[in-house]
């Protein structure tokens, strides 16, 4: 589907809609309706089960979303968290320089200096996309953080966090103290991030407030043990920076062990492979729609030693788009915050030397992946529209449908209550023909439907049994209602990684 078609469908189904819609919306902000909110929570829970399941020393915290000014000065965001903006002299509209230059420079402008960008705008003959004028002001850097003044006179300057990562770096000292005082130590956050985008667009892909799931693993650069053998044979679709510089545009499959042989550390490749498994095996993205794009030294932030962006091919957005990333950030973060706060952040594990821990960061965009889950799994299947979500991500896990409301409704309602009581997201529906109800459940991504009929409530051999209907295959089977909870529970539990 095209972006507009998919967005219209999601909006109509109440998956999401613009914030303050009745007032005309608020650019770059969306509300999740019942289906969207449940899906988003399920994605968050699946992320948590997978990434925090990688080690008992990976923990989840929930920090506040504000950063005092001193912290963003130390992290470099106050100076560097900028976008380059171009304003039209004629009509006053503003645009991101990279968007303006998209056609002549599809790879973006990361790593270019301000004067390089200015030269590009000048020589490209770019025109204002709004009024067509070619009188454009010189590009200028624009800080994307949203500041707020706390306190009576707004005197305490703070910022809404531009990423959740900083809060984990700030929490490291306390986490070290309350924990085992040993590395590796992982700190995971699912939280909001805020960016004052010049031009929000593509619905959930460039928002002004969005949800990130990020894991920061602090480790000893002298050794970060991982069970590498468990991923060594994993075939990873990678597009190396060196290959890109030679003009390659397609990913090649490399086993995890080959990437290590090529010089990438085991701890890095191990986590990259786990990210791949999460996207393929948990979220169900087809492997051929995934790739890991390595950023070159010029493209990545200077403190990132290794960076592969996880990209999924999202047809509604016209191609591969970033849905996550793995960054090896070295000791940049703790070194900067030690300097900024005056607090010693080097550690001395029992019996060892003193050093500043390094950071491996796994990022994941929750909203972007909600969109990807719609793009990749929601499709027409003959006459049906079916959202083939993995069962543990489905907003409604089981639909309970009485064939005839008056006759079978009581049994179906009691069954719904039983399933809800077992923690299953069950939904009773008696409105319309059974075919229409199946269609509604298919479109909402409900993996299981249970139909209660005359056999269920009668005295015959089918007494107490129901029809279990599977969304994807439309296969139907007769099962005892009592057997449903155990059968469904296993299917709706998010998978955890196999770790030794």
């Amino acid at each position: 589907m095209k972006i507009d078609e998919l967005y219209a469908l999601l909006r109509r189904r109440g998956v999401l809609w613009p914030t303050a819609e009745i007032y005309g919306g608020l650019q770059g902000l969306y509300d999740y309706g019942p289906l969207g909110a449940a899906l988003k929570r399920n994605v968050e829970n699946a992320w948590s089960a997978w990434f925090l399941g990688l080690s008992p020393d990976y923990h989840r915290i929930e920090p506040a979303e504000f950063l005092p000014e001193a912290t963003v000065r130390a992290s470099g965001h106050l100076e560097n968290f900028t976008d380059t903006e171009v304003t039209c002299e004629s009509c006053g509209a503003s645009f991101r320089a990279d968007t303006l230059l998209e056609k002549i420079r599809p790879e973006g402008i990361d790593g270019l200096s301000a004067s390089d960008v200015a030269a590009l705008v000048r020589t490209s003959g770019a025109k204002c996309p709004s009024c067509g004028s070619s009188s454009l002001k010189l590009p200028r850097a624009f800080n994307m953080m949203l500041g707020v003044g706390l306190g009576v006179a707004g005197g305490e300057k703070a910022y809404l966090q531009p990423e959740t990562a900083q809060a984990s770096y700030l929490a490291f000292a306390r986490m070290w103290d309350v924990g085992r005082r040993a590395l590796p130590l992982g700190i995971g956050v699912i939280g909001r991030a805020y960016r004052n985008e010049i031009a929000p667009r593509q619905v959930l892909f460039r928002m002004r407030a969005f949800t990130q799931a990020e894991l920061q693993v602090f480790f000893d650069p002298a050794g970060f043990p991982v069970p590498f053998a468990t991923v060594a044979a994993e075939p990873l679709p990678v597009l190396r920076a060196s290959a890109r510089e030679s003009g390659a545009t397609e990913a090649e499959t490399r086993r995890a062990s080959e990437l290590v042989a090529a010089g990438i550390p085991e701890f890095y490749v191990y986590h990259l492979a786990q990210m791949f498994r999460f996207l393929r095996d948990v979220l169900g993205y087809p492997a051929e729609r995934l790739r890991f794009l390595e950023k070159s030294e010029k493209e990545r932030a200077f403190y990132n030693r290794i960076q592969f962006d996880a990209e999924a091919r999202i047809d509604s957005l016209g191609g591969f788009r970033e849905v996550g990333a793995v960054h090896y950030r070295g000791d940049y973060d703790l070194t900067r915050h030690a300097a900024g706060s005056g607090r010693e952040l080097a550690v001395t594990p029992t019996g060892g030397a003193t050093f500043v821990p390094h950071v491996l960061e796994l990022t994941f965009g929750v909203d972007r992946n909600v969109w990807a889950l719609a793009d990749l799994h929601l499709a027409r299947d003959g006459e049906r529209t079916v959202w083939k979500l993995p069962a543990f991500l489905a907003p409604i896990e089981v639909g309970v449908l009485p064939l005839i409301g008056k006759e079978h409704g009581a049994f179906a309602e009691a069954l719904t209550a039983t399933l809800l009581g077992r923690g299953l997201a069950a939904r009773y529906d008696e409105a319309g023909s059974i075919g229409r109800r199946y269609a509604r459940m298919d479109e909402a991504g409900t993996p299981f439907c249970v139909t209660v009929d005359g056999g269920t409530v009668g005295d015959g051999p089918e007494h107490g049994t129901v029809t279990l209907r599977l969304r994807d295959s439309r296969a139907q089977e007769r099962v005892p209602a009592e057997a449903l909870p155990a059968r469904l529970e296993a299917a709706v539990r998010p998978p955890r990684p196999a770790v030794p």
Copy 2:
């Protein structure tokens, strides 16, 4: 425990700590560590299971946390969401007028005019709590919303939502359209709220950013059917406004049916009783520590027709404190937003008349209740410190402890993996004596511990069995390891309300 003692314990255990702690903290903002974050999530899930379980027509959404200026103009927040602030002429420090007047006016200053407050400050002889000077500036109203400028020049003025309720009112039209187009319709939100408190204090009780769980039920004022018989006999501890005006300070027990006989509508009392059951039966607050305090017409916002605050007696804070509330808001919200947005918000259910739906609001402060759960359930029990959390709220549901790491560790680790795989929050711990490990688990609120010993891994009659130890009674029993998942799963599921 006193507030400082409890806070120190929670901080030491990594339940919570000040945001940006290594930079000296950020006033009124806290981070939740692993135990606190899990507890808070469990409270949110329990709220959701209970309140959204009241009706299949009560839905949860997840709106963005920003409100455009026009919405807060319409809702009245731009004009009225103020606190009264007093600044010292000598030292420049600012204080809330109600805090300054606390001793002479413990009931607060809600409903007083600015000139009344000024007169009180003048006649009270109040002094600056910071420097002792009596030169205080005239009190002034101070808007507590946090504004942000969105867009390149910050030109789109928006506010961080001061309460989650507004987002539900704004979502009503869309929810009506995508739903059954019938009332009652409930919209629940668990989300962040932001208030630029002049003087944040009492840790989680007056924060600048906090989490609310709120349910807005839209209904037809001509009839809001509820299964009242299921709560009619519930004994509710109430302190009526009329009694308070006659000097009463203690709650009296009134059956739900008596409150209805006294003129309060059934739909209101029904939800009040469900709030009571949630606090008593789900969160486990003793009934004698709960009361519903009715606000008088003068105290409550003018649009609230009925308001009872749910209060819990929290010793660390010196008495009863608000942890939730039930508001009957009439048609104020939709009427104002219809006027503000120009969008018709009256509805015409099939075959009925056209009217503006009324709103019943159930609010619940998540952070405040996390604190209350610590205050009410964490206590010394002889030599032990035990956090007697309900099992489904416990951050760690089951501790798995090998008696001797080397000999029983492998079995215990495999058992931990099995329990995690079944969705249980299991935690392996082999550090220190078994007594010390029980003590740590007791303090963390872990309801179950499982000990693996020689019998478990041996060939004798105890093969495959473990010791299950209960936190509160310290009772121990021998159970087959295989039987654990089924046994524990039922205990850690949050309860749902019994609705017909």
